[in-house]
């Protein structure tokens, strides 16, 4: 595979983390415009860990996951008192707050003759762990794919257990979920925390691939897109948000025929899908049909 194809595929995989993160919150009944905040937290935490603190990449991933999960959990505790539009606005406000903080956040150190670390609005250069470690783009893509597979396996395992049933129950009808003994608030906070951790994992992988990040990259539009991926792809399965990413980045952004018109097509597609299939292409009913067919 040439480097261009690998980059496109890596971008699809990276944005899938963000899409799965927003999709999880949709399942629990909340629309978040702010998952890019945890993507940014993951990117900066991972970047600082390897580039400034010179920690191993594995530790950087764990620190990013922990930071994303922790921040998302802490934000969720007060935010989950809200619901609907109020929650959406709160999530957006937090994302903008994170971006504003990153605009003034400076933590630079001399490492091997380079001044590296977050430099406010000027961004964060030289996150060059993959180059220092001699990892080629193809191998790094496989590493991203490996992490994505672990996340998806986690969701599939949660479906095999009772985890996803609980999340979907709370998302659909909190009152009825409570009657089954489910603590809706706890479920929503844990889901938000897991979603934050997943976004942060994607963020740190993104930072190491891009080698340069800046606060402007984590704006509202990334949040809107990550939300739209789940809505287009479908709510019935974890493959739904992936399908959404594939349609947007894999087709609309990559194919030259949409050049310059991508956002128009994307916006139109979201509107069309929401009208014709309100729960997305791979909605719950479609997934149930496929499961029935697979089981004969």
């Amino acid at each position: 595979m040439d480097v261009y194809t690998i980059t496109v595929l890596a971008n699809i995989a990276l944005f899938s983390f963000l899409a799965i993160s927003a999709w999880l919150l949709l399942l629990v009944g909340e629309i978040s415009f702010g998952q890019q905040a945890y993507f940014a937290i993951g990117a900066y935490t991972g970047g600082v860990s390897t580039a400034v603190l010179q920690l191993p990449f594995g530790i950087a991933l764990l620190m990013a996951i922990a930071a994303g999960g922790l921040f998302a959990g802490l934000v969720a505790i007060p935010a989950m008192r809200l619901s609907g539009l109020h929650f959406s606005i709160a999530s957006l406000a937090f994302a903008e707050l994170v971006r504003s903080v990153l605009n003034v956040f400076q933590y630079q150190r001399w490492v091997d003759g380079y001044l590296t670390g977050p430099d406010g609005v000027n961004g964060f250069r030289d996150i060059r762990w993959i180059y220092d470690a001699g990892i080629d783009p193809g191998t790094y893509f496989l590493m991203i794919l490996g992490c994505l597979s672990v996340v998806m396996l986690g969701v599939v395992m949660a479906s095999y257990g009772r985890g996803m049933t609980i999340v979907r129950s709370v998302g659909e009808n909190r009152r009825l979920a409570a009657a089954q003994g489910m603590n809706a608030t706890r479920v929503r906070i844990i889901t938000a925390s897991v979603a934050g951790a997943i976004a942060a994992l994607g963020g740190t992988l993104y930072a190491h691939m891009a080698t340069y990040i800046e606060p402007a990259q984590f704006g509202l539009m990334i949040g809107v897109h990550s939300l739209a991926y789940g809505l287009i792809g479908g709510m019935g399965t974890v493959f739904g948000p992936l399908l959404g990413v594939l349609i947007d980045i894999g087709a609309l952004e990559t194919l030259r025929i949409f050049s310059g018109y991508r956002m128009i097509f994307f916006g139109g597609l979201v509107a069309l899908v929401l009208i014709m299939r309100p729960r997305g292409i791979l909605d719950e009913a479609t997934v149930a049909k496929v499961q029935r067919w697979l089981r004969g």
Binding site: S169, E172, N173, L176, A179, Q180, G181, M182
Partner: protein, 249 residues
């Protein structure tokens, strides 16, 4: 002392309107009570109070000696009290099987190993399929509730409540919308699979249904208890027949 449900001096007010006024009731373990009364008499409000969906203005609720007053709906459900709803409530985006798994949540225990988890999951699957079989829903396990008829939805609501293996089950008009034949079938299913030794309170407007299932009946009118006793006696009570059944004289 192992006691069932005890409700004392329960009142509920919505602003200036009294939905329930000084209601007291004792339900022994394994006892089945029919709760009847005209529309707006406070039957569903009573169930909402017992299950933590609303909080009483006055009074106290005890179950197995533990006070439930002011406890949340989920903590009450975890104590072994399950309910169905007058306005049918199912998880419409979950399959019939997943609805049942949601119902199993209360009695689930964390597993210490994958094999223990797998064994618990298999046992749960068997229990769910057996329950669905009791309600003739086993063939529809993978369907979403939108494929079910009203009667099947009511059966799913009931089966899901049973999935939690409750000690006390509260049924809010389980036979609403059913034909006489379907009502008879439901009464038989309840008798065979639901009420065998389990405490229950059944709200229903179909008197024959109550008479077939409950030895004791409690009558509410305008939030107050007007009769409580053996079902056959209560149904012959002059005031009950006048207020609830609309008989003159």
């Amino acid at each position: 002392m192992a006691s069932g449900l005890r409700v004392s001096n329960l009142s509920l007010k919505y602003g200036g309107v009294s939905a329930l006024c000084g209601l007291s009731m004792d339900l022994a373990p394994g006892e089945v009570i029919g709760l009847i009364g005209p529309n707006g008499s406070g039957k569903t409000s009573f169930l909402n109070l017992v299950t933590g969906f609303e909080f009483p203005t006055e009074g106290a609720i005890f179950f197995e000696g533990q006070e439930l007053t002011g406890k949340s709906a989920q903590s009450i459900a975890r104590k072994g009290i399950a309910r169905t709803f007058q306005n049918l409530q199912v998880f419409s985006r979950l399959s019939v099987y997943e609805n049942m798994r949601a119902g199993c949540h209360r009695c689930s225990k964390p597993s210490s190993s994958f094999w223990q988890f797998k064994a618990a999951r298999n046992a749960e699957k068997e229990r769910i399929l057996s329950l669905l079989d009791c309600f003739s829903l086993a063939d529809m396990a993978l369907d979403t509730p939108e494929a079910l008829t009203l009667v099947q939805l009511r059966q799913l609501d009931l089966a899901r409540a049973l999935a939690s293996e409750p000690k006390l089950i509260l049924l809010d008009e389980p036979a609403a919308g059913m034909t006489p034949y379907e009502t008879d079938q439901l009464a038989k299913t309840l008798q065979d699979h639901v009420l065998n030794g389990r405490s229950a309170i059944i709200i229903e407007h179909k008197i024959d249904f109550i008479a077939a299932l409950a030895k004791r009946t409690f009558v509410l009118s305008a939030g107050r208890a007007i009769a409580d006793g053996p079902t056959d006696e209560v149904l012959c009570d002059k005031d009950v027949r006048r207020i609830y059944l609309g008989e003159c004289g």
